[in-house]
Symmetry: D2
Subunit: 415 residues, 4 copies
């Protein structure tokens, strides 16, 4: 199980199908980011099982993304990035996630965090912050969690002094910059702060069953000084950012969708490789090769069809998100709602699909596939952990409310 | 339940979403066939429930399709048709099927049957037959069933004399032309024969639980004279038609997929209209309107997400089928296999989705929705009947075999 | 499809398994009610398909139950009945329901209605009413629906004068006596009234997709005189009847459970007979008999296992209900709650099982099994209609609340 | 998560329901084995999470079973055992498995292995071997795997000399005696050998995702001398043991069923305790306690109903197995087949149920429940590993074949 299955599928059937780019995406950039992603994925797959066991901070893995040029993928060309459209990052995400779901999650979080100045900032702020990120090749995490108590903030001449703890601060431990959202005097700010400044401590309290390399522990601020120039947005609490800015949530949720599907793709492809090469035909099957077992073939058919449907829906949501981004500040609240619901539908469907596939691969690989050296349970553990980010029941309700009553989801970090 | 729900959804949310055109389809024809289809669908919906009960031969309904200009939709412009691409017929199919699944089935069967000369015939044969169809505005059925014993065929000077019975000859009773595939002296022919010629009798033996208006009874040939000029293809038994010609099966299967999804869309939209207007909140729900019941909203969310995924996959398959058609005789066997599998995946998924949705609409509409006047069970009966056309287990196996072993499906009327 | 499959299963495997008595039930009565029920079931099965189409009032079918002695089954021996325990009526119910779900429903409703005086009445009232029923061999229906507006009641010297309409008054049209629950001056009464007395009109408004022979239309009271001697219970509104009396609801719900399972058993057995004798092996199956198709055999295995589990749970609930009945007035509220939850669990499970089986039998019988003459869709239509009696979501919540929080369901006509 | 949830459920609702004894089991032995099992389970639960991580050989845990007197549970009283009926061991198994699935598996394997002389041996052999086991309080494992190449056996004056490797030799590492089945000269023997004799090496190659404490690695025999007195059965290869003896497989399979259900019960009860005490209500739920979330309560309802149905079916199978055991040598091949199918149905159902419950507990406990300290994934990992013992597809087929065609399963180690 040391390598991804890319090149080993008989005549390529299936493999590229699952992870393929969206039908209408086209790479017009000079940078062949898909090839770069594949290379990183191959490298990550080599050691995915061992790294999952250890669950250490993935400094080296972030390094791979950086060296491959993938951190700057979505930054506009004029600001030094590769200017790749969001929709075209999805195959990248799926490719990385098929090899290592944790690194996929870190990548998409970085994409969203590093894009926040373009969504919420003034043009000048966006230019400043994105250029800084690109020039310094920073990995950008965030310490924002609406379920944690708000940070304690005191203004001073240099900016703000911040105290408090934020749980689930994914990626902060391996980041150069961290986004926070301090609120003071009834105004909400965004800030991009240096992670290594005195006063920010990452707690080693992420030891979970899945997504073990995401450094998702809590972060504690102790008299942390935020400088004025690090603030890039302000809007009065209670007012709503414009619809374009609030695409941040659909972008993050769409990232989740593609993470689930990338992990499920990786699971299905590795399982198929195992079935082809290792699974022994069952005693009563009357066949000589496991691939000829009527039940095994048929079940793969179901899993492939499910995954394909989920990916097709995710791609459709991706096209709608891209179209919404392309509308920019012209985007209306109604249009934003429609896009958010498209993403929500994909989230609902991919949650079910990814959980099902990552659990059922064992039924088509057999008892010996439970050996820890194969690491086949990590796919399920990763999906199981990720899909609890926000309860799928409420996502389902959101979709139903919109369909039945035209009810638009309110902007939040989950909707 | 007299009208389709098109214009009655609050702010249009949901409705157009379900039945919408494929993302990249564009109507470049002068003929606004989608508007035409919507008009026919509205008309059909008015009496769908009563007509389902009667199950009579749908002469009048075929008349509606004819008058709307929908019979000539896919015929090339140069042969007098509208030259609409296959992919663009899918929303038409879904729209008609949402109102009446039987008429949807008759329409897609006509599209395939009337396209057969373009797939299997010589250019001259294709031109002759398609022009005849278009000029005379024929509805074209077929009497082909690989599970029936082959027709008894004797050559004579005028052509062939045919005897025998073909079961499940959908639409022959309402057709002007019927496609048959007589085999003689080791050569397989196609023929397009006039349905009303002496010697062809339609048996009134279609009385099934669903798709009741499809006139799918058997047809009996008694000394039926096929004329030489009605034959349009011949190839030796045992040889294979070229890959392009064998797209006939993916086209028919893709039609099935879109029938299922059209029916499921109709079911879900009519259910939602019922929930909004008629369903009473449950005694213990604590809400005043059924749409505010937490379980009802959430379940609609699941059903909408499932349907959307299935439609997205069907659309993706549609794009691949279109691309394959566009390749024409250059299409390779490998490319044909890939397209066939894309359609098979969509068939597997839409079978499950359509069965689930048409059964579950009752859980979100309530006990009174079982009144026969609402006709809500016809959706399930239609899907249940249609999805047995060929066993889904073997479709699943086909997809699995291709994914696992690169096994290509052999051309047949089912694969 | 003219006969039940009882005696035709190869070596009896399976058949008796599905419909068998509960493991520990024993018929100590002289009356072989199971044989009687089987005889009625055979008779009903002969014409079940045609009668389903017509949906007429089942006067003759009630006659069959009466002649077979099944109406007096649960009445105590000392009051002239057969004194069969509730738990032992369940195989009777399942047997009748396997042949005709409507007649099964009418039978269980009669059992509950004719038992109501024993639950809610004084000993004298119970004796009087039950003896009357038994002596006259009455079929007892009810016109009680908590979702209808309450009846308008005026006291007079002879008793009460009642006006109003009750929807879903199952069986009133074929009954001799009807139970109603008039409320006046803050006191709730039960009354057993003669159905044919002037002032009670049965409306012909039951024309639903399933359970078509249950005469479940509405009943209208127009200046209907209820006599004092017909009243048999009174308790102040707002007070609660004792736990024993409120077993009426678990009894009715347990009846529902066994109806679902009886119908599902009938569906599965008739399907199996069809598969054995009629289904043709699929073109690509490589087998000569449908029963040897690997997918068909395997799917039957799943359906049989599901049904068996549901029946086992229903039987367990039956044993607990019987034990609760045996406790009589000693039954505590806690014990009543526990029993109600056992029944609720069986209801939740049997709902899912019966819906699944009655839909999936088509996948193991094939396309031709959709012929209307086989009537295979009536099983699903019956279960689909019955299972909407009260929303399963809330039954699920009830079970969950008890498990999680020890919350006891309040007595109502549904809980 | 340090303790089992037994005594902590509000008013006991639910808890005892899940793990309760079968309805008709009664402990007539003086030994309160259920109390003993509960005590061991409590002890095991204290450290289950840590022990799962380590996956060491469970010498100490077997010691707990021994000290509690549970190893001698099924041995006949006249041979020094507790003479508990098989059916009454099932609650014991479920109780132990709810706390630690691995120890549950070791216990049931011991029960079957120590019972083998009573099934296959002569009375004298049975007496000798069982008395030895009981007197010495041996834990008895086996090294039998039909999927491994047969052992190489050479006869000599003292008995046999055995060479070869058997994979998946569960429990050998912690056993005092090991059952093997050498075949020589066309005769199959059973032998009960001392595990610590020279020539038997246990390989440390069990490092799997679940059931980590079962010591299920392979065992290698190198010139291992089996003594004549250790042989206790012989029958010519190709002949069949009598039906009673072949109950060994249903006993083992029934053990599996109860293992799955015990683990699932443990999962559900620990999840409920977590939901009650730790889960935070969701941001958009509008409730103050997670137990009041409408979706959480409803989903628990579904899981409880599913588990209850599966347990009811397992109990029913248990009663049939017990009845078959009680028939002894009078048991016919037909009766054995019927019992085997009852167990197979329970296996099919419990496989699905246990997989579903152990995966879904996360949806009702929430994101933080994925912390490794809670160990909630071990339930799924255990069930996922166990349920691959033999493919459920073929078990389903077995049930279907019997139902459809009366086909009896042939005796094997799986059927």
């Amino acid at each position: 199980m040391k390598k991804t299955t890319r090149t080993e599928t008989p005549d390529g059937a299936g493999t590229w199908r699952l992870l393929s780019m969206t039908a209408d995406s086209k790479n017009e950039a000079a940078f062949d980011y898909l090839a770069a992603a594949s290379k990183v994925a191959l490298k990550l797959a080599e050691t995915a099982v061992e790294r999952d066991v250890k669950g250490a901070h993935p400094h080296q893995e972030i390094g791979l993304l950086r060296e491959a040029g993938l951190l700057e993928l979505v930054a506009p060309i004029e600001l030094g990035g590769h200017g790749v459209r969001w929709i075209d990052t999805l195959p990248v995400l799926r490719t990385i996630s098929a090899a290592d779901g944790s690194i996929g999650q870190l990548l998409i979080y970085h994409y969203v965090n590093s894009y926040v100045p373009l969504l919420f900032g003034t043009p000048a702020e966006a230019t400043y912050h994105v250029q800084q990120q690109v020039t310094n090749r920073w990995y950008v995490a965030d310490a924002i969690n609406p379920l944690s108590p708000p940070l304690d903030v005191i203004k001073n001449e240099h900016g703000f002094v911040v105290n408090g703890t934020v749980s689930f601060s994914t990626g902060v431990a391996v980041s150069q910059r961290t986004i926070i959202t301090p609120t003071v005097d009834g105004v909400q700010y965004f800030a991009s702060i240096p992670t290594d400044r005195r006063g920010l401590a990452v707690n080693d309290d992420w030891d979970n069953i899945g997504q073990r390399l995401t450094s998702s522990g809590s972060a504690t601020f102790h008299d942390f000084q935020v400088l004025n120039e690090e603030l890039f947005t302000k809007f009065p609490v209670g007012t709503r950012p414009n619809p374009f800015a609030t695409l941040a949530t659909p972008l993050a949720q769409l990232g989740h969708v593609n993470l689930y599907l990338g992990i499920a793709s990786g699971a299905l492809e590795q399982a198929a490789e195992y079935t082809r090469n290792i699974t022994r035909p069952w005693l009563f099957s009357g066949v000589n090769r496991a691939v000829d077992d009527p039940y095994i073939a048929e079940r793969y058919g179901v899993l492939v069809a499910d995954l394909s449907a989920s990916i097709a829906l995710a791609d459709q949501a991706g096209r709608k998100v891209q179209a919404a981004l392309d509308r920019g500040d012209l985007l209306s609240a109604d249009e934003r709602a429609e896009v958010a619901i498209e993403v929500a539908k994909a989230k609902v469907h991919s949650t079910a699909t990814a959980l099902s596939i990552t659990a059922k691969i064992f039924e088509v690989t057999g008892a010996r596939a439970t050996g820890r050296k194969h690491g086949f349970d990590r796919f399920w553990r990763n999906v199981r952990t990720l899909t609890l980010h926000d309860p799928v029941f409420y996502k389902q309700k959101e979709v139903g409310n919109y369909f039945l009553s035209g009810l638009k989801p309110e902007f939040s970090l989950y909707t």
